[in-house]
């Protein structure tokens, strides 16, 4: 299953990447699984996506939590708490 990833603000800066397409291995089913899988890249990935870090996630342009299931072609975004207004 292929999905699109987007990164914003401080997360984008830490990773040095704003977007990518990834081919998921078997067993990566939810947004939480994806976050843990990306952490395995180490370095900035382990840091920016660490459990317990204030991080928000969106799936197909809607705020989401770790339990939401990934679908083929979906767009998942990771970003820090929002600070508009």
């Amino acid at each position: 299953m292929k999905i699109e990833l987007r990164y914003f603000a401080s997360v984008r800066e830490t990773l040095g990447l704003s977007q990518e397409t990834v081919d998921l291995p078997e067993g990566i089913v939810t947004v939480g699984d994806l976050r843990a899988w990306l952490r395995e890249r180490g370095g900035g990935w382990a840091d920016a996506l660490a459990e317990g870090r204030a991080l928000r996630m969106a799936c197909n342009h809607a705020m989401t939590d770790a339990t939401v299931r990934l679908t083929d072609g979906c767009e998942v975004a990771f970003f820090p708490p929002v600070t508009g207004g």
Binding site: F8, A54, H61, V82, G84
Partner: protein, 156 residues
Amino acid sequence: MTVRVQTADFDVSDELAALRACNSKVGAVACFVGTVRDLNEGSNVAAMELEHYPGMTEKALEAIVDEARKRWPGSDVLIVHRVGKLYPMDQIVLAATTAAHRHEAFAACEFVMDYLKTQAPFWKKETTEAGERWVDARVSDDEALARWGLDANNAR
């Protein structure tokens, strides 16, 4: 259009006139304008860069407008939010609401801003004399949304 994300500045008078145009049921117009301060958390702010998530940000703002119109039937809502490089005293955001009476217009306007602060994907980065820094989300903004019976889950 009830929501706009733009780099350009906006004219509050023009926006309010357009919002209530041709609607004789409107008896009250409330608006909030957020502006860039030159001081934040004890540092002088020389500039601010606003980032957003094209596509999702507009969708989030539309959801806020829908929710406000559901809570205050008959109200119209406008949100204009700027992105890009801004400087002290610049306008950042306009939230404007109409209603038959002032209490509804004020309440809807406050609701829109409380919702936007914690649910619309925008991020502020300040330039201070010590360099650039991302603005931290505030727990008080989460608490402000809780007053309306909604969980923000933003600043933690």
